[in-house]
Subunit: 326 residues, 2 copies
């Protein structure tokens, strides 16, 4: 779940009075998301999402994230829309945190992924990339390749009371060797633009298998567009038992390409991008697992899931492993 | 938070198809409540609450709880209403758990209690007691006086890896002595009926200081009516710094009495009932604290808060301490 900051009824009423969204009927913390505190706000006009930004989101990045949501919506991408207060500003403060109210997006994220979900995801992601092309703000990927080795070293240095001895030599040596490979083989140049960078199933809503919207743009940044695809190969195309589902991968890539055809260099780079993406989630999960605060509400995700995914991509012989017929 | 059982989109759609509540637009886990899994369900007809009953609620008790909600609503008490499926049955199964959909109650629970909240609470509680008089089902209080000593003994026996040595001799001896007192001095007979038995602030909704409804009837049972009042003296009338706010207590009892006048025996029994109520929450919190499962989403509540409240009631010289002028 994620409610790190509670909001009193009085604080909320005075906060909402600065908007033109009606009278608050209810406000309930949502047990989803891990970075921020989210509430489902019901007024006599409808439903809204209230987000309080917690420490892991840098305030300086908020204009990028909120501006991007507006930019994308103007170009037909279904995503939450920041609602401005009466003074025209969407970014405000509540309970000592930066806070926004955004529109409510209907749909549910798919608990059991079927191939049709992956096809719809591919198409939506390509449209997102196209819509982001003329977004004027720029945000480097804070969790890109140059961040991985320092993050790994912070994991090795260990958390208080935990320590790096918890990590097996296989894992430590394997990650160190893979970082060497990634630093050497990472592409120098590929088509770039704004990517979502966290399109996991819980950030993609569907209604009866139709994709209804994308949420949680708080890792969005400028990077290789095909890296977003590589993140989704990891997040959507492995079965719960660890098997890679090539049908899902093929549909994901095929429907992406129907909206934005991939260049040969992007296709060739998919295996290394998938390895890099697996490394990124392995390391952030490992760090969170080692630094999981006692008494926190959030259950840390399993880092080893991404170690197993990384090892799959290390063994592939080329992009054909993802169902591509060249 | 409380989402112990997740529900897949497919399970949910097939579950909701048995109701006449429209098409599911969204279903989000709610980060409130500790006993059951609760979801805010949005359909094209409105909002509903979906509850999955977890292990601590006995299935055999569900007809009592659900029947009570219907009984109370027919008598004008604002509380969630179980919604029957097309076959007329409200109690169904989802994701392997007993499950119901109930009506959505607007309002927010008060984070900062002011005296007017206590007055409104007293009035609503008395109306609840009056409305419950002719409820035909009966459920003994599973957490009444005869349950306290066995529960304390289970705390002393300790949890795996924890053990009773965590408990100070002051606390252990103090609880044992208090149990002796309670077992001797507990009233033999007082006006009885259906009580809520868990009317904490997070179970009472307000809208602009008007009480809009009561929720979470899963401890409701037959017991002394004044015991419900004693539970609220503990849950509503202490300040965050531990001080007892006699103004809140006086308004709570006065407005209760305006709807259902208290008998002299009930007034005389308030101090011992308040001690018993403090003991009940001290022991269940202590038990939860000692048996808190690792990795659980729920942060255990502080048992010692109720130890301090118990000590307050031990020192009072009579019901006058609660603002009553006899």
């Amino acid at each position: 779940m994620a409610v790190y900051t509670d909001v009193t009824d009085e604080e909320l009423e005075s906060f909402v009075a600065d908007y033109d969204i009606g009278d608050v009927l209810s406000c309930k913390g949502i047990a989803e998301g891990v970075e921020n505190s989210n509430f489902l706000l019901v007024t006599d006009r409808g439903q809204y999402i209230l987000t309080l930004y917690e420490k892991r989101v840098h305030e300086a990045d908020l204009p990028f994230f909120l501006g991007l949501l507006e930019h994308l919506a103007e170009r037909g991408i279904a995503c939450p829309q920041p609602i401005p207060g009466r003074d025209g500003h969407a970014l405000r403060r509540l309970a000592g945190r930066p806070a926004v109210i955004v529109t409510f997006l209907s749909g549910m994220w798919p608990r059991r992924i079927v191939p049709r979900h992956c096809a719809a995801l591919g198409r939506a992601m390509a449209r997102l990339h196209l819509a982001g092309r003329d977004f004027p703000l720029h945000r480097p990927n804070a969790l890109g390749p140059e961040a991985w080795r320092p993050l790994f070293e912070r994991c090795l240095a260990g958390a208080p009371g935990a320590g790096s001895d918890m990590l097996s030599p296989d894992l430590k040596d394997g990650v160190a060797r893979e970082l060497d490979v990634l630093e050497t083989a990472w592409p120098a140049d590929l088509p770039s633009g704004v990517i979502h960078a966290d399109l996991f199933p819980d950030n993609v809503f569907f209604h009866h298998e139709a994709l209804t919207g994308l949420i949680d743009f708080y890792f969005a940044c400028n990077d290789f567009l095909a890296y977003d695809l590589a993140i989704c190969l990891n997040a959507w195309c492995f079965e719960p038992d660890g098997a890679f589902n090539v049908t899902k991968a093929r549909l994901l890539i095929r429907d992406y390409g129907a909206e934005r055809p991939l260049e040969p260099a992007e296709i060739a780079a998919l295996p290394i991008l998938a390895r890099g993406s697996a490394m990124r989630f392995l390391l952030t999960r490992l760090y969170d697992w080692l630094n999981h605060p006692e008494g926190a509400f959030v259950r840390p995700k399993d880092p080893m899931e991404y170690w197993r995914k990384l090892r799959f991509h290390q063994r592939v012989e080329g992009p054909g492993a993802y169902g591509l017929t060249s």
